[in-house]
Subunit: 351 residues, 2 copies
């Protein structure tokens, strides 16, 4: 029996609704598998926790989380009660950083039965490899003067090591897929960082002569995600560019509610973390209509990570069967509840 | 007779094809008007110029341009012969900066007869006000170490003055439109710059109590441009965010070939510059199929700038009549040439 200890952090808003839904699915998946079991331990870190304790997560919490096989997170953020930069840097980004989850992996794939906002969506199936530890998301910088003369300086820091690491990850991934890596750049506008990014990309690409490689400026690339997403296989992007591209990816899938993600620790020192692309969606909290598919597809990425690819594939098939059947939450134009969709997935898994 | 001295800089690639097309249209428009005339003076600044002279534009060229009523530019860049960061910083961005064109204005609007990549495009009509002088496009930063330890540091510099100026521009523009300004932010991820951006936005918004204001993170906003562009009126964005959003805007219009832009000098010290969103498109140069509509619509923005709004409106009507008639270049799925589309516009203008 393979036993996996998973720390669940529902976080804020609909995180508290979709994490339990997805753990139910994972339990059913483990049963179907037979040789697998999950032990879930719940942690309360969230904006509410912050209001009570003055920190999003205590040091002692970081230490406890460290011992799990993986973290399964819902959503963080509730700007009504805690400013976003406090809650996100205090928990989500902190976890990604301190647990050295240097790669953020996010697929975009056309699901059957879902109305894409695109007129003629070809069968796109792409994966964004987002650098997840540095770049535009840096705490280096500051502010100076007050009033009219005030300036804010924000540093983006790119290291060769971090950049190469993300690119190597992308090329390795592409070698198991359609053998094509596209680099998201902006070397025509971002004066220091992006010509550097291009140089590293060209160097790394040389090491993978069998993989096709090209570069696109982020503005054009963002537009191509709308006009021709089927042209892409693996896209490697900086922290910010990856963030933007993957939300567009979620958009063309029909709803951010279906988009999954994985934060991968590649050195084995800390747990990886699985969390969907969507946020805490305060506007629909408590209505029972949050789309659980993003969190459930994220669970599939966790299964893949644990090398249970067969079970992962089964789960994705079941997700696709469910969307095809028309059982959809309101964000996808349907009228099913979180619970109905979850139960349908569990039923299909067990079939 | 109102005489306007316009410096034309066709630049690279298809710039050399669409600028003459649009000046032909402007001449026809002036005739129709009766009380208006243009004097065009051509300048050769381009990547080819760089190969011959070692600079994209000489100091003496900058001085000459300064005396024109406006600059009308095609496209800059040809990475086959000059690296993008050299050509763009040496000409396009240099002009924007030194001539203090601090606002970049870019509409996105659904044109009749054009197949949008969106399934059910509502009648969107939005305007992005892009801060055009600072932010992520800064020459502050550098690189350190070589080899494995190398790092590149890129500074984004935001001043209160520059940020406020763009926001004020946006609110003033919205007061003549649908009275709604959306700020593109990323205060949950960009640690110093974007919380500052939000503070300034909230301060500026207080001065316009009649205008509705809201903020969206750039990732969500990019996605909303695909899923619900009709919700927006004026969007105010940093240099980079504006760059990305306006290419998505071009994408949902059906082709980057139709998207116009204006670089506005607001202090009256230097000329403003009008240049479409598209690049030099080396792949289609010389085929006679470049879409002239982006450059022609840009001419319409120049007419508006010279307070010839009536003529500007007529020109936009004529553009819309032409797209509706199905006379389209290949990027829009048609098979008309640059010349055919241009002549059709001139014919309709004269009607
Ligand atoms: C060519 C490039 C430097 C430029 C920019 O990023 O500003 C272009 O994309 C634009 O939007 O005008
Ligand atoms: C919430 C925010 C800090 C985060 C990010 O920008 O990384 C989110 O948008 C994401 O993509 O996971």
């Amino acid at each position: 029996m393979k036993k996996l200890a998973i720390a669940t952090i529902p976080g804020d808003g609909i995180g508290k609704e979709v994490v339990p839904a997805a753990t139910k699915v994972l339990e059913a998946a483990a049963e179907v598998h037979g040789g697998l079991s999950f032990e879930f331990t719940d942690f309360p870190y969230s904006c509410e926790y912050y209001l009570q304790h003055g920190v999003m997560i205590p040091n002692e919490g970081m230490k406890r989380l460290q011992n799990f096989d993986a973290l399964f997170l819902g959503a963080v953020g509730n700007p009504e009660i805690v400013p976003d930069h406090v809650s996100l840097w205090g928990l989500l980004i902190k976890l990604r950083r301190e647990f050295e989850q240097v790669i953020n992996l996010r697929p975009a794939k056309l699901l059957p039965g879902i109305q894409s906002p695109l007129a003629n969506p070809k069968d796109f199936d792409l994966m964004v490899v987002r650098e997840n530890s540095e770049g535009e998301y840096s705490e280096v910088g500051g502010r100076m003067y007050r009033g009219n003369d005030e300036i804010a300086i924000q540093n983006s820091v790119f290291s060769r090591r971090g950049t190469e690491r993300a690119m190597d990850y992308a090329f390795n991934l592409a070698s198991k897929r359609k053998k094509h890596v596209t680099s998201a750049t902006k070397s025509n506008g971002i004066f220091y960082a992006m010509p550097f990014w291009d140089e590293v990309f060209n160097d790394v690409a040389k090491g993978y002569p069998d993989i096709k490689s090209d570069s696109q400026h982020i503005d054009a690339l963002a537009s191509f995600f709308v006009t021709r997403p089927e042209r892409f296989d693996v896209i490697v992007a900086s922290n910010l560019f990856g963030d933007i591209l993957t939300d567009i990816g979620a958009g063309i899938m029909g709803s951010v509610g279906v988009a999954p993600a994985a934060n991968i620790n590649v050195n084995g020192k800390y747990p990886s973390m699985f969390e969907p692309v969507h946020g805490s969606a305060p506007d629909i909290v408590g209505k029972g209509i949050a789309n659980p598919l993003g969190q459930i597809w994220t669970a599939k990425m966790m299964l893949d990570y644990f090398e249970e690819e067969e079970l992962g594939k089964l789960l994705l098939d079941v997700i696709e069967g469910t969307t095809e059947s028309g059982m959809l939450t309101p964000d996808l134009g349907g009228n099913s509840s979180t619970e109905e969709v979850t139960d349908e997935i569990v039923r299909r898994l067990r079939e």
